[in-house]
Symmetry: C2
Subunit: 874 residues, 2 copies
Amino acid sequence: MSNKYVYLFREGNASMRELLGGKGANLAEMTNLGLPIPQGFTVTTEACTQYYNDNQTISDEIKEQIFNALKELERMTGKQFGNPENPLLVSVRSGARASMPGMMDTILNLGINEEVVQAMASKNERFAYDSYRRFIQMFSDVVMEIPKPLFEGAIDEMKAKRGVKLDTELNAEDLKELVVTFKEIYRREHGSEFPTNPSEQLIEAIEAVFRSWNNPRAITYRRLNDIPSDWGTAVNVQEMVFGNMGDDCGTGVAFTRNPATGENAIFGEYLMNAQGEDVVAGIRTPKTITELEQTNKQAYDDFIMYANKLERHYKDMQDMEFTIEHGKLFFLQTRNGKRTANAALKIAVDLVDEGMITEKEAVLRVEPNQLDQLLHPNFDTEKLQSATPITTGLAASPGAATGKVVFTAERAVELHNAGEKDLILVRLETSPEDIDGMTVCYGVLTVRGGMTSHAAVVARGMGTCCVAGCGELVVDEENRVFETKDGNQYHEGDWISLDGSTGKVYGEKIDTVDASVSGNFARFMGWADQYRQMEVRANADTPKDAKQAREFGAQGIGLCRTEHMFFAPERISAIREMIVSKTVEQRKKALEKILPMQRGDFEGLFRAMDGYPVTIRLLDPPLHEFLPHTDDEIAELSKEMGLSFEELKNIVAGLHEFNPMMGHRGCRLDVTYPEIGEMQTRAIIEAAINVTREGIKVTPEIMIPLVGEIKELKYVKDIITRTASEVMKEQNMEIHYMVGTMIEIPRAALLADEIAKEAEFFSFGTNDLTQMTFGFSRDDAGKFLDEYYSKKIYENDPFKKLDQTGVGKLVEMAAKAGKQTRPNIELGICGEHGGEPASVEYCHRVGLTYVSCSPYRVPIARLAASQAAIKNPR
Amino acid sequence: MSNKYVYLFREGNASMRELLGGKGANLAEMTNLGLPIPQGFTVTTEACTQYYNDNQTISDEIKEQIFNALKELERMTGKQFGNPENPLLVSVRSGARASMPGMMDTILNLGINEEVVQAMASKNERFAYDSYRRFIQMFSDVVMEIPKPLFEGAIDEMKAKRGVKLDTELNAEDLKELVVTFKEIYRREHGSEFPTNPSEQLIEAIEAVFRSWNNPRAITYRRLNDIPSDWGTAVNVQEMVFGNMGDDCGTGVAFTRNPATGENAIFGEYLMNAQGEDVVAGIRTPKTITELEQTNKQAYDDFIMYANKLERHYKDMQDMEFTIEHGKLFFLQTRNGKRTANAALKIAVDLVDEGMITEKEAVLRVEPNQLDQLLHPNFDTEKLQSATPITTGLAASPGAATGKVVFTAERAVELHNAGEKDLILVRLETSPEDIDGMTVCYGVLTVRGGMTSHAAVVARGMGTCCVAGCGELVVDEENRVFETKDGNQYHEGDWISLDGSTGKVYGEKIDTVDASVSGNFARFMGWADQYRQMEVRANADTPKDAKQAREFGAQGIGLCRTEHMFFAPERISAIREMIVSKTVEQRKKALEKILPMQRGDFEGLFRAMDGYPVTIRLLDPPLHEFLPHTDDEIAELSKEMGLSFEELKNIVAGLHEFNPMMGHRGCRLDVTYPEIGEMQTRAIIEAAINVTREGIKVTPEIMIPLVGEIKELKYVKDIITRTASEVMKEQNMEIHYMVGTMIEIPRAALLADEIAKEAEFFSFGTNDLTQMTFGFSRDDAGKFLDEYYSKKIYENDPFKKLDQTGVGKLVEMAAKAGKQTRPNIELGICGEHGGEPASVEYCHRVGLTYVSCSPYRVPIARLAASQAAIKNPR
């Protein structure tokens, strides 16, 4: 039996998203709901997979199904493909399971050729040639990969010749001439005539859409959005309706609620006498949807009615595309709209209040990662008041950003890789090619484009602050400078600040202040916490971080890295004294100097975390990290320390390691220098006793890093328990504390049943575990991982998203084995994955007790843990 | 119910080795056989474990059992502990499950105190005080850790005062005086009087033996000999018989066959009027056992009779200790004797020919590691003829060694660590403290001591060449020089050569030639191969190595490291050209220069391995290994390559890695530079076609290193199969080849079921797998592993002996998963563990197809695999 690879819209429905893609499934659903939809059919995602399996060809079987569907479409529309008298023109558009806006390709007006255009011209000449030149342009770009600028250059030339500014000012003759020029460009670049057979055009276009699934920007987008590369895309072939037939025509996009604020009011834009991407490309500045009421009340009223119907049907804010052809409204697409985090929260809360969804459903409606936008600093209000904006644009994506100007995406990536983190991308307009550059910038400023322009949509999706449409600015990308209306110039590297919530741009650096959780956010998080089964702790090394973490809802510290406390100038000299010690006695003397400082650190943490557990990891990095490495620095330090240059140089050389990641660090330090563990334990227990006397409740969890063997754990644990007993006896007070281990060495995971005999808790250190399991170091993998992404060997950075099949297998084995040995064992994760939603869900599924992440990701982890619990009841 | 911790000799037997230790079990067995054995009892190894569990104390329960046994011993002997009239004196000796000669401690004559000695003196004054001074000396050393040299110094002083040379020349008065001096030393060093209560002496001595299980040299010995530290030692308490009662007394050691050659003739030495260690300490030069026939025919005949009885009973060559007291023979110990590899082979073959054991039993009689001695070079006969010996000593351990003189064990270790491998240790005599130094030397030369001296016994065990008893030499260890009889001086660093088979010493470097397998060795290996179920291949990169491997019985090449072919001067410049290439085209051009060389390499290997598989690993190391790193070298090379210094320096800097072990290497190189894999595949397939045309049979197995993910494997495999098809088409010839992968990254082991879909074979790269699984790099772990050994966290170097519990778990999982996916998958190991007997046995147990090791270890692996198959039928 043969597979069904092509579905008419009326054959599908919204539940068939996997097969038909999001766009196809929704077109089918809207057809069923009775909305005015130009009819058509969908070539399935399975056909795409088959296309790749068949060595990038469309099989005869699939072709046959396509042409059968086309025949049915001709029957329904009464038009005929390639028939000049009554031509059927179609659009060919991609549509994956997950929305990938702007990432893949669209071809409009397919079915035109010289005969058809002449027949069309006899009715409306300008429209006919405008449609034809658009088709040639899109087909050449998408199917034949002929560079777009060749065509755009020809249009610019024509506009200059005619002395006009806008495309719409070109007349039919101009467009006719352009068609000739375009065909010449095609012939020159491609080496053959532009294809005239509509069926051939159609198959080539469908293949091109399939191919576009694997274009570099789609691959990058998938990686950033965790979309598997084996899903494939569907292709939608739909009868054209025309927004470019004259001034009673137009095309637009709209949201049922405001995607920036969540306000419950239709929000959208449209352009008259325009087609396709004209609105979102930001070339002409569009009108707001409410203006449509004046122009065409019927179309407006219909639009509002259908929009409300769609929102009620999908129970979520909708993002719709529509076209008006000679005054009549058509819907081309609907989907759940992308929105800012603030809007997502407001919409979720409002939908609950409106009785449309339950609290539990609401919790599932917000992408945890999106909260990131709300957790980053805003401008310091005081500082902001004294600043004067240099220009104002559209508040396209909220938040505050301060940074140095950069003018191209490539340069932004280059500077970022060189260590510059404070960057703001300033562009005339952005395009999908800029996505990598946008990712590394704190903010984006564009001269052209509206709220639905590429820059605005993408920035909102990323949670990056964006001010769009700053039309007053003159940007000279080549010379890396922009000029304000009053003539001030800003060069690459100059500081500016963007307020994405007001659209204001400042020509200076403005300090920012921390975010907090309140209002809708707090209410929503309250719902989320009801369902959560894992604790969320934070990785924090200072009382300041600990306080921030508590404000964000952390239920303890899952990782305090004690070495971070050693780098302060007054401390590092004591550490260095310890390192250069020749005897145990010298080393103990140096450690005694550090003891009171460490004790003070821990007291601060314990106070900040009153009532919650605090997990403290013993010293982890190799000792050479505390010593300088260049001759000049060594010379200076040797004077300071009263050593000869050679002595110190020898010590540094002696500590050199070939592979520091796999060297003398972690608990290996305590095995060779037990006095370090003794000092740290003493500091922890003394601090706990001191704050207990103040009335603070504290349970220190002492964590031993880099364990690979139970005897090693036991050796270090013995140092800890011996010292703790000593201190408690001295101080005449008992303190409850726990001793556990990191699981970050594969061997520890493999032997977790043994290890659990001595460890009261496991904390999965998935950063190191990922390095060891993959056999590549994070510092070095950058050199080849890009090739691995572009060759689709790895789809995600395993240091960002936990590798569930490989590293996860070890985590799961160890969690299971640990529980078998010690049923009440506490299981946590403290790698960066602890704040990554997919990884958090995984942690829930394998039964961890808690996740720990950076303070700024605590609410994300809380929401992710909640969603995980709802989706995977334990 | 209480445990039985103490067994009388008559209560045990040879099968109780685990409980009673080797010495105790054999004393029990000899008692049952009716041999003349001084009676006694054994405190079990379980008592030792209990002692450590009880915080290093002997429990009251065990003490009670000891004193009950002592009472029974008094009853049997009719003597009484501490009774001056009829005193029972005992020896207290350690005895572990595995023989650890000289590693732990012995105390003789225990039970003497001032009253007892006086009573004894009334019968034989010299004997009484000789026994007493020996007891004080041993008790002080073993129990109280008072340095031996203090006592030896006192003896030397006494000898000087009396103007005599030998201990035996001291008279009773002298010894009496020495006892007083010894007690003074004890009082001064220990701060209290020497203990007079025999029961107290006994318990202290037993505790000291238990403690000696964990002295540093015992720990080192266990590590070198794979003896687990949790076994513990038993303690044997035995009635004393005295070899030091006069000239009709003596003590000796003997073997039933010659331990150096295997010759079937009693072989041994004895000293008259001596006790305990006097014979093996090499202080006086002993007489051969055959001389006893003249002195005491009865004792000699008895000895021969009992020795033959023991050999027939144990069906193996015996190593016996005996004492003659007033002409009457007593056996103190028997055990299977240590022997050279040649002797082991001869004895095994002879025992089969004598009908005493089967071929299968014979195969189990030779320690695989011992064959190592036979596989190393001997002197080039021609070169040897032109050399004149500078002295001749005893041929104490066979083999040939040439190297630079070093005078202390510490200095040998120091030089070895600094990279000096050609070392020969020259000592007055060796002691157990020298064991680390002996391990790193090619040969050992001593001035004092016989065939059973410490140096001789230990060297034979290690397979290290040794010439002992070169009494003509004058060694000045302090000034690092020795002088021959004719006044020539040899300083540290001067070359000498030792012939351990003739005892000749040469004052120059003498070249050596390779070993071969013939005679008993070949016959024995033939038996071994009958039982073997795994193939044995070799790691070989050159035709020369490949030929050597075949001579040693390799059945193919399991690992050819192609990078080793790149370091020759004429090649490295092409490699460097490839590395500095800026475009794919430049890189391909450079690779084309390498192609014919690589093809030639492979042709050579294929010819050498005609009929056997050859596994070729694609380029593995990071590219920076082929470039220089110092500024001077970079400057020189930049001139050579026509680059500016800065350009080349930048390239070198750009290739720098923080953790090269976890960097851009292995198949990651082929993913980023597919043209490298293409060139290597082309070289392999073209070479295979060329030699096939010559009539050679070849199956190349192309191996992809460092795989962690199936898509990565697939990507590189596609490069290989595509290129191979191209070449076969060009050459119009089909070649059978395989494509497989190393399993050396934990993730590959975890996902082996997936990986096996694309891999026709797995080869476990347990060197890297060990690094990644333990999370420490071999280059860096040296800095802390010694602490781990001394703290008993790890007992073995996991890079030498496969960590079966951790790394082995991954190997086992992967082998199982691989077979599940692909039942006929070929499974091999090519890490250094492939030549380590315990690891080979493990490989057999988990079902590997083959092991691959260095050519010189091939016979070892063959024997180990055979023994594994006999012990673990599949």
